[in-house]
Symmetry: C2
């Protein structure tokens, strides 16, 4: 467990990797983002993506799971107020994703003296080392004692 | 189908509403965000949330589904490069969510002459009229002809 005081700007965290499969892309899209380019390879061919691509929200959800399963364990849980989210490249069936995170800012919270704010730049990369998504949330992390 | 030329700054779109149930909160969390406050009401009571709350990614995914099922139908599909995402309030079992969107900016794309960029402020509200999430993406929308 990492308390606010355990973090320093520049700290880096790397997750394991996860293979994306076509069935999971379609399953997620059916529930939450049923657009042709996330549901059907044939229909996707003529779309802007040029082939089946994961919903951006699926990429974000897979990123979260990789982080939750990693050694990045802030005290109180991974709780964020949000941040800037960017999708940079399509995520395709067969892609192997992993996540690299870096602490970019630390500050106290005026309204919550028992917690501190940890801003982290979270980059999701594919097997070619290309960034497919970045997210820069501010997390609320418990202080020690 | 709405082409780039059909949009104007200030246009508003409202979706239907969707009830959030505890089983779906837990199902999503098991797959993508398995932290105690998204999995178990008892464990959630002592967390910062004070009770079971949906993963922020689940809120985002439900928001997307409401929009895809609505009359907001940009030509080429709803394809965004990302934007600022904020979670403002917990989403709880029994909440009724709907989404209100407003076009806030329109501009051409230098790299893609066949498309225009539509910036939209997307607010997800609960049954008390409280904003639980905002997302302000820039979408890539086909031009007419």
């Amino acid at each position: 467990m990492l308390y606010f005081e355990d973090f320093a700007v520049g700290h880096k965290f790397v997750t394991a990797s996860r293979r994306v499969d076509a069935a999971e892309i379609v399953e997620f899209a059916k529930k939450y983002d049923p657009q042709p380019f996330h549901l059907d390879a044939e229909a996707a061919r003529t779309s802007l993506f040029g082939g089946l691509a994961a919903s951006g929200w699926h990429s974000a959800a897979m990123t979260m799971r990789l982080i939750v399963d990693s050694e990045f364990r802030p005290a109180g849980g991974i709780i964020g107020g949000g941040g800037e989210l960017q999708w940079l490249k399509p995520v395709r069936p067969g892609d192997e994703l992993h996540v690299e995170s870096e602490i970019v800012e630390l500050r106290g919270s005026r309204s919550r003296p028992l917690q501190g704010l940890v801003k982290v730049r979270i980059t999701t990369l594919n097997q070619h080392g290309e960034a497919v998504q970045t997210f820069t949330p501010t997390l609320l992390v418990q202080r020690r004692g």
